[in-house]
Symmetry: D2
Subunit: 421 residues, 4 copies
């Protein structure tokens, strides 16, 4: 996506944008501060998100999918060119092993991208290796645990080469039936394995421990909820933190409260953003319950400000969704937009008035304050921040009108299948 195309597109739409921006800007306190924060705020794109996701019934490819890591980086580069909010990529090993780290870093850098957390994979078997059929870090067999530990250490090494500084660990370790597992031993094996991985972390690295209550066909998972992740992270030490994936909760869980408490405890690693209607649905961020997303950002802004954390860099931000019926690039643009909308709305909350209402238990007032921010149409603010950063006023609009997907299909073919899931 050349800058010239973006500029032309913006030029066509600037008048309408200016009218909208001027209108909403009039009521925004500390407008420059808000715009600067919006500009600074980036969300990492995982390398596995550029292809169509697999479903229980097969994969319905959309065409033009990236065939290798280089093309995935190119796709993220284009997203970032359009929205100026996706300046990093999160690799999943072994789905995307860089052959030459320096070349890959240079390639990414050319798009303005760097490398976010690296993700290990001990939930899929590799040829010639021991099977993870019955788990990895929690396995009853020390040989399997050792293999999984070594894999994580290897992932750290790839990450160091790429300039990453965090290892993100998600396990599918669990059980399918009552009696299959001794919960206590499984937890202790997991802790022991993580301690060995922790010992291999460079000084400035973190390990992010994800939790998830269930997988299809499961009776238990060994890191099921924030409490179990937090217990592990506490025992491991300061470099270990809890990662929140929005889709990894039982029905009705109050996620915003968990976020607030993890921030309080200095144990919030960051987010895997998505949305869900039923289970772990990995839907586009903000497509099902955007108000919940806003409430989470309201806690984030409040809690990070209380601890003096930089919003953009204080914790990790990443999308983790599955794109089965939409063009993955459009889906990712929609997700980033939804995140920035929620963030912008949270920045508009009248914090002082809210603290007063809370102190006085003026519940109706507290709701008015939150909803006044939420009901504001903040899209022009985000567009303006994007414009100032060199992005497109309307990323999806330009992506579509520019016929990008068609070009990709011509270039890569209609039946490519992205590596990884």
């Amino acid at each position: 996506m050349e800058q010239q195309k973006i500029d032309e597109f913006n030029h066509q739409h600037i008048k309408d944008h200016q009218r909208k921006f001027d209108f909403v800007a009039e009521d925004v306190n500390k407008l420059d501060d808000v715009l600067q924060k919006l500009q600074a705020f980036n969300i990492a794109i995982p390398s596995w998100a550029l292809g169509t996701g697999g479903t229980r019934f097969g994969r319905f490819s959309g065409g033009g999918e990236p065939r290798n890591l280089e093309e995935k980086i190119a796709d993220v580069g284009m997203i970032h060119a359009l929205n100026r909010s996706s300046n990093s990529i999160s690799l999943h090993i072994p789905w995307d092993i860089p052959k030459n780290a320096n070349e890959i870093k240079a390639l990414a850098s050319g798009y303005g991208l760097h490398f976010d957390a690296v993700n290990s994979n001990t939930f899929q078997d590799q040829p010639g290796e021991l099977s993870y059929k019955f788990g990895s870090l929690h396995h009853t067999d020390k040989a399997v645990r050792d293999q999984a530990i070594q894999h994580n250490i290897e992932v750290i090494k790839y990450g160091v080469e790429l300039g990453s500084n965090a290892l993100s660990v998600w396990l599918s370790d669990g059980s399918n039936f009552p009696g299959q597992l001794n919960f206590r031993k499984a937890f202790q094996n997991t802790l022991d394995s993580l301690q060995q991985i922790y010992a291999a972390l460079p000084d400035d690295w973190k390990v992010w421990i994800e939790y998830k209550p269930f997988e299809p066909n499961f009776y238990s998972t060994t890191i099921a909820d924030w409490g179990q992740s937090h217990l592990l992270a506490s025992k491991l030490g300061k470099k270990a933190l809890t990662l929140v994936d929005l889709g990894h909760h039982l029905p009705n869980t109050n996620i915003e409260q968990i976020v607030s408490l993890l921030l309080m405890e200095q144990k919030l690693a960051g987010f895997h953003f998505n949305d869900s209607k039923y289970g772990d649905d990995d839907l586009t961020v903000g497509s099902i319950n955007p108000y919940q997303l806003f409430l989470i950002f309201n806690e984030l802004v409040e809690g990070m400000d209380a601890r003096g954390l930089n919003h953009a860099t204080g914790i990790g931000w990443m999308i983790d969704a599955s794109h089965n019926v939409k063009d993955p690039i459009e889906d990712l643009i929609q997700s980033v937009e939804a995140i920035k909308i929620a963030y912008a709305q949270a920045l508009l909350v009248d914090t002082k008035a809210l603290v007063d209402a809370q102190q006085n238990n003026d519940v109706a007032k507290a709701q008015e304050i939150l909803q006044a921010a939420y009901r504001t149409d903040v899209r022009p603010l985000i567009a303006e921040a994007r414009l100032r950063a060199g992005g497109a006023l309307d990323p999806i609009g330009l992506y579509r009108s520019g016929g990008v997907r068609d070009s990709l299909i011509k270039q890569r073919g209609a039946k490519t299948v992205a590596t990884g899931l």
Copy 2:
């Protein structure tokens, strides 16, 4: 609330409003049509909603609660004066039995109010009567069923006198333990009872059958879901319809789909509006998941248009929430506002483009269309419609600045308890 106060208040805020309205109006197609629909749209207030709700731990009265039906009507009258969207009241018998129907009608009429559906109560025991401990219309004992049937017939009579034209039936009939109930017999007893009530309906009346999956301490309810309510309504006949209470669903239920299908089947009676986080929480409408509310209104607008129904009168609209920690009047104003926001957003959906996107399975586009409408700040449209109807630009603002609650406390006392729940 005198009109003069409202006019003064509006005069103070008109300039700011005009700026906002002009901005949003510029992008609205068929602006007059939208405004007329918003003006015509009213939501009934139940007579039991004006007092503080009871909780498991007692009632925490807020002061100035209405002490009788007359004062409840006055409260609804004031809400309607402020928002011009609450022109009817829904009575609950025996909590609010009008002593003299004509006088009550005249009183209500003075406030511009009429009487919506009447609600029977066979879930609380009355002195000297048979107990509903084990249910009412489904009871194993014919004498109890007969008593409950007679009560419903009596409620219809009250309704006829008041000019109402629908009976709303909600049962707490169910069981607490497996084995307690024969589900089939309970269903058939319920059907038989409803048939007798149905026979007593005047020609132009409807009976609305509410469903609910559980009460605290329950193992089953005899009208648990929309399917069971619909089965009863189908067997009863054309005057019987299914009432949807937003809080009466199992976790994750897709309510908007149910609404669409009931409309298709010409069996949607209307709504009891509220919101909920966990169970049947009876929270302020739109306080937890406003996007779901919008999606429901999107189905309503689409489905009612397809059947040629008038949005304002085609089905029944009522709030049914519990107000435990907020001033009930403020809570109701917030609920009405949330409903009208969702309705206005649904009116802004680009229907033609949506049909195209659906036909072409352009999922990303369909989402863009819905969210474009949802993300619009429609508050100025609603304020304008309210202004044109003689209401206040900011009902809660005026209610607070006018010190209405303080006046009510002076007039009625600080420790009054509203009749009914």
Copy 3:
């Protein structure tokens, strides 16, 4: 599994069995009737259940899996030889297309097996055909709907040749995001498609319509709950019935009540048995909540008796689970055992006393009656019925001690993959 091996095994365990059987038999009313009913009760095995199930993370094959339909029939034959309760097989087209129906029928017959309902598949794409990416019977494109209809009609033809008499339809038709689908049109397209399939049913055939609230990554399904399935079945006619899969419900659904009402309405097709902890987990029947299974059978026995239906043949019984970490044959034997235990317990309920307790609202007594039956160790009754039918006293015991899986691995190989899922 030769009869001689079974007899030898039984001979070794007969003494212990006899002691246990005599003990429990002493308290069973109408012992012969119970034993005859247990003997007559068979549960169909789906042809896709003999191989290890796939998971999100790959397939972890257990070795010796059947490589074709003939070997699948052999596996079911062995299960039936062991437990004498699995005398039919349910084919899934196109996973298991019989090349020569007569030969397959003869093969099955040799094992004492016949063919249960046939299952269509319009959720996976076939080479050279239109894609089901956006659904099948509900599709916006008539050409896709027509293809799916033709497939179902073809499945009926296979079924006729095999002596089956029911078509089981499960759709993954739904949507992933709000706005993607017009619910009403999707429902009407589905109805229209089913009507065409219905018209192709032979006189003595049924069509079974399954419902399911969600798939991973879904926002809606077009046949989401029993109410939607029942609405379709009612509009289609007498040959259309609702199929209940135990795993296809939202959290906390009272399934036993649904079963009771569908029986009452003469619209219960039958069951897909499994168990689940979280979502649609497809776990071994009775492995998570065996009391719920008992409560369902309690409704079945009561409701079928009320309608004079033969328990064994009045509705359809099939297992539908996924076997990822267990030997599929062991898993199926465990499932059949759990079903028969629940059925036997339901047969032991003191019906007359229960009716009295219900009539008198003696809730504690009703619970005592149900739990008295449930707490009875009925395993010796089932073993006795199995013994009388020529099966093994302890099917899994014999399967393991006989080294059956090892033989299958020798014969078929360690890395075979069953056709189908």
Copy 4:
């Protein structure tokens, strides 16, 4: 309940019992050990459980309810005389304040009863005190927190006088709407309040911290899940532990895993037993999912053995249910029976074989082992243990045949209302 009546009753039923006991005993390893453990195992009865519970729709009294603490103690005494498994009573302050501790202790002692944990109440307002409308230990107003702290300290004093050694704290502190509460401050206020209460604990006392995800009408609770309770307990110190109430979990929570981990962390205080179908339903223990209860006891036995804890005294056991449609005494007897059945089944698990199966990932075998224990009819073992302890072979049978409730009604009246809930 005189011992003579019990003995007569047992004499009538001894022959049948002996036959059943002999049968089941034959297969039980370490029979004496099992029987001794069953005899030693007692479950506390809360003082508020002897009366009919209130519902949203009123209270449906069953007659003969205890009118004061003395009569409640008498009721527990009778339950204990019948089942010899309820040798303690748990007081709730201020519902049941003993006027004279020594007299009350003597009275209880006469029935063989002592006093279990004492329960504070900061969820209901008391005349002349500050209101808990907006919470207690988490309140924004220090004066309210101080009042609640003082109440807890007072409850400890009552407990000391009665010989209790634990304070059980359950809070309804939470919020009804987003924005109402600052989660972090609410948590820190709660921690600070608990620290002051903790400081007032005698050396040999514990404080038990209960969690609960929601109340009707709630958006959040300040101690929502085990993780939050555990975080508080960890910060407080060794005397603080987490209490598990079975009904206080989101849908589908794996409670047995939580129990296992809390035991591992030496932070499991004990249990409030009940069962639930939907929300926090407070139903009779084992009435909805008895297998889950067994799985929990399986973890308890395994985990307590691993730590060398005495099953009967190592942690706290109490029933916490609501009795709305059953005679409370019958309900409690049913609950105790269900608990002892689950415990007995857990004692029968072949631990050594299970460890082997787990180590070898033999999942089918592990399930066989658990279900072999669960499917055993252990009622004769419990009856035998009861018999040896002087209780009745069939407590409910004797309670009913002895016409106990009728006597209580004659003595106390038909419309008494127990103090407390």
